[in-house]
Amino acid sequence: MVIVGNKIKKIILYFFLVLIALNFLYPFFFMFLSSLKNNPEILQNPYGFPSVWRWSNYSRAWTKAGLGMSVLNSSVVTVSTVILTTFVCSITSYILARHKFRLNFAIFSFFLLGLMIPAQGTIIPTFMILRKLKLVNTYFALIFPYTAVSIPFAILFLTGYMKSIPISLDETAVMEGCGEFRIYAQIIFPLSKPALVTVAVLTMLDSWNEFLYALILATKPKVRTLPIALSLLVGEHIQEHGVQTAAAIISLSVMLVAYIIFQKQMVEGLTTGAMKG
């Protein structure tokens, strides 16, 4: 009896788990199916597979909706932000983790305060600063603020990790005649790789998806990023659902691939970030 009861329990459990999984996955799948149909097909056959797979929706999204340009812009901004963030934060964290000096803890805490600053609180002055620097509607208008926003978490995470690397390694290196630059570049930086990957992945995710800064600081088509391009499609009056969904699929497929590869880092980064914020 107990065994049968357990089995039934298990079946019910899996039933609900699958149901909830469908709740999270089906909308994406539905969107994917719609991206291969035209309007009349969506209306007549909303749930099923398309009769003709209209991949042309994708090429039209790419060219007509200007998505190609936005993919390029998002890529440039994201890659630059990731490189800049990991570089400046890894050198700062190296100092904070390895050097004893009076202001060390004060500087570390000062960086952490940034976790509490909302984007709305900084957006207006950031706009003014960038306008003065004549950087509005350039890639830098996004790269600099995105990096600044990523700094608090990156420093928190990297400093913590670097502190866990045995200091005896540095001491041996010094006896071998290594200077600070080589200790950083040849010992600490390579050994911090797991933490660096988490920081890079999280920065990539945030920069690729960011909306508010992009909406205000990069409005021109030549610098427009993907989220903004997508939002403009929503407001269109002559709606072609197939093209719209194709655009969304193009945008989220990048994160889907990243998620499959870096799931562990994304979960770790997002939960740690939330805990400290």
Partner: protein, 290 residues
């Protein structure tokens, strides 16, 4: 400890510090400062100091309370719908069984997708003529329930915040999971030996021990609601007739469509202070140590 080369300290810290101060610290102070001025943002010379009058205007504007009410609805859904679902999922999935990792990854997936993609997806789901909701209602013979979800003032706020509630369930689940992972397995075993199983175990052992994690969920949900912007902006822009306007959108409109930078800054300061006070007070009065 051997002697460290002190010269590299500023050299290595300054790049991050300069970026951080220029685009985070300086702006946040500037925002608080500007909230004391009347300023249209065109030129600095046109700033007029007026003390707290932006705040007086803020707290006496009926629109502000309407916006606050909408933000409150979002907050309620985030705290009382999203968190319980996330916590229940974490209770089911914290122990290893066949497929638990798979389900965890699926539930978390929407969290990493851009708010713009999610909003676009929901705009199609809500579409009056071709949206899956209305089509399904029609097919079920419930056509009378179908409506223009994003233009009906009665339901628009719920329609607009549904994607936000839905998208971040997985994050709540993982926050709660990390809480469970920090509790030693022995405590659960001991509790089970003492007869705490099923609901009792959940109510008296698991949830209280996981209170720290749930607290984090509550704080980020409340602060997240105050800051929320993307989904609602894309779906409705706050309309129709402000029916779905939340704080983030009110601020954006005041700053970038009518250029009341001073007034908008007072809204930003309100968001900052409210969020800060909430987390401090909440942590102080609701932290329980067992």
């Amino acid at each position: 400890m051997y002697r460290r080369n002190k010269i590299i300290i500023p050299l290595f810290i300054l790049p991050a510090l300069i970026l951080y101060i220029t685009f985070m610290v300086y702006p946040i102070f500037w925002t608080v400062f500007v909230s004391l001025f009347k300023w249209s943002g065109i030129q600095l010379g046109a700033m007029k100091f007026q003390g707290l009058s932006n705040y007086i205007k803020l707290f006496t504007t009926p629109m502000f309370y309407r916006v606050l009410k909408n933000t409150g609805i979002l907050m309620l859904f985030s705290v009382f719908v999203r968190i319980p679902i996330g916590v229940v999922l974490s209770v089911v999935l914290y122990k290893a069984f066949r497929g638990y990792k798979f389900f965890r990854s699926i539930y978390f997936f929407p969290v990493v997708i851009s708010s713009a993609s999610i909003a676009l997806m929901f705009s199609l789901i809500y579409s009056p003529s071709m949206g899956i909701i209305n089509i399904t209602l029609e097919k079920l013979g419930l056509g009378s329930l179908s409506r223009i979800w994003l233009a009906d003032p009665k339901v628009v706020i719920y329609a607009a915040i549904a994607p936000i509630t839905w998208q971040y369930i997985g994050l709540m689940m993982f926050l709660s999971l990390t809480g469970f992972q920090s509790i030693s397995e022995e405590i659960f075993e001991a509790a089970e030996m003492d007869g705490a199983v099923g609901w009792k175990k959940l109510r008296y052992i698991m949830l209280p021990l996981n209170w720290d994690a749930i607290q984090v969920c509550i704080i980020i949900s409340v602060i997240g609601s105050l800051r929320s912007f993307d989904h609602v902006y894309i779906l409705t822009g706050g309309g129709p007739n402000h029916a779905s306007e939340i704080l983030g959108i009110y601020l954006y409109k005041q700053a970038f469509t009518v250029f009341h930078f001073g007034y908008a800054s007072s809204i930003a300061t309100f968001i900052l202070v409210f969020g800060f006070l909430f987390s401090v007070i909440f942590k102080k009065y609701f932290s329980v140590t067992y």
